[in-house]
């Protein structure tokens, strides 16, 4: 589309300072270099703050750990889960009499088990007023 008023040429009324386009590339490069330095600086600042945060967190964790163990009562009784302590203490407390008792106990238990195996298994029908034996089975050990 052409403008009706032909008296307007397409020349612009603007001008630039002398040598502007000769200097512009150099100034752009300077801006680029400055922005890169800023990026590196920002990166270091970020890393430094992250490291400071991590160090602070580690220090707090160490303080909590030390505080917990320092505040423990002196006559501390080991928990059930302190296996090493329990086992080592049990070994020193062990007595021959305990061993004999344990063997006696074992023998008694085994003989009861043996006696129970010889008793026939009975199957019952339970009704309202009586119990009827319907089968009797004796377990036979191989």
């Amino acid at each position: 589309m052409e403008m009706k008023t032909k008296k307007f040429d397409k020349k612009l009324p603007f001008r630039v300072p002398e040598g502007y386009f000769d200097e512009l590339p150099m100034r752009v490069q300077e801006r680029v270099a400055a922005s890169q330095n800023k990026e590196v600086k920002n990166g270091w600042v970020t890393l430094r703050s992250q490291l400071a945060f991590a160090a602070g967190f580690a220090f707090m964790a160490l303080l909590s750990y030390l505080g917990y163990y320092m505040a423990r009562p002196l006559g501390h009784k080991p928990e059930k889960t302190d296996y090493v302590e329990i086992v080592s203490r049990t070994i020193y407390d062990f007595d021959d009499i305990d061993l004999y008792r344990a063997i006696e106990q074992k023998k008694r238990t085994d003989s009861i088990k043996q006696a129970m195996q010889n008793v026939p298994h009975r199957f019952y029908i339970r009704s309202s007023n009586c119990i009827t034996i319907i089968d009797e089975k004796k377990e036979v050990n191989p």
């Binding site: 589309m1 403008m3 307007f8 612009l12 009324p13 512009l24 590339p25 490069q29």
Partner: protein, 182 residues
Amino acid sequence: MSNHSDSELLAMFRNPDTKHYAFNLLVRKYQERLYWHIRKIVISHDDADDVIQNTFLKVWGGLDTFREDSQIFTWLYRIATNEALTFLKKKRTKYLLPLVDVEQQLMRTLEGDPFIDGDDTQLKLQKAILKLPEKQRVVFNMKYFEEMKYEEMSEILGTSVGALKASFHHAVKKIEKFLEED
């Protein structure tokens, strides 16, 4: 002026050894076209200088990821246009100015900037263009002064060819009306 093609410049830019050199050549190749495009939007030389530097700074940051499915020239124009329009928008929000006041400010720049020295008819046309809405002003400048194809403008501005034709048509009508009234 650089004799390298855009593809050559891009290849050089992707090589760390020639990155800065390639960028320098790219700036030299496109600086004038981009400057005049920006200058027509922001009017003042100092503002145009700021905007073109910001534009090239953005180009530096984004050229690594530039995909060659579009021309580098249209990509540069798109960045320059966005930067110039953002600059005016920032000016408005910074001083809490309504749209009309920014136009008034640009009008005053047209009369008082030391780097404006056209004749009366050129200034009269520029004043008429300044009365257009921002986007329409960009469309008019690209078509009238830079004689750009609608397809290229469409790629730069992200607007359909039909809408651009309509926009230019309305802009011409408005300018003619402004000039007749003046």
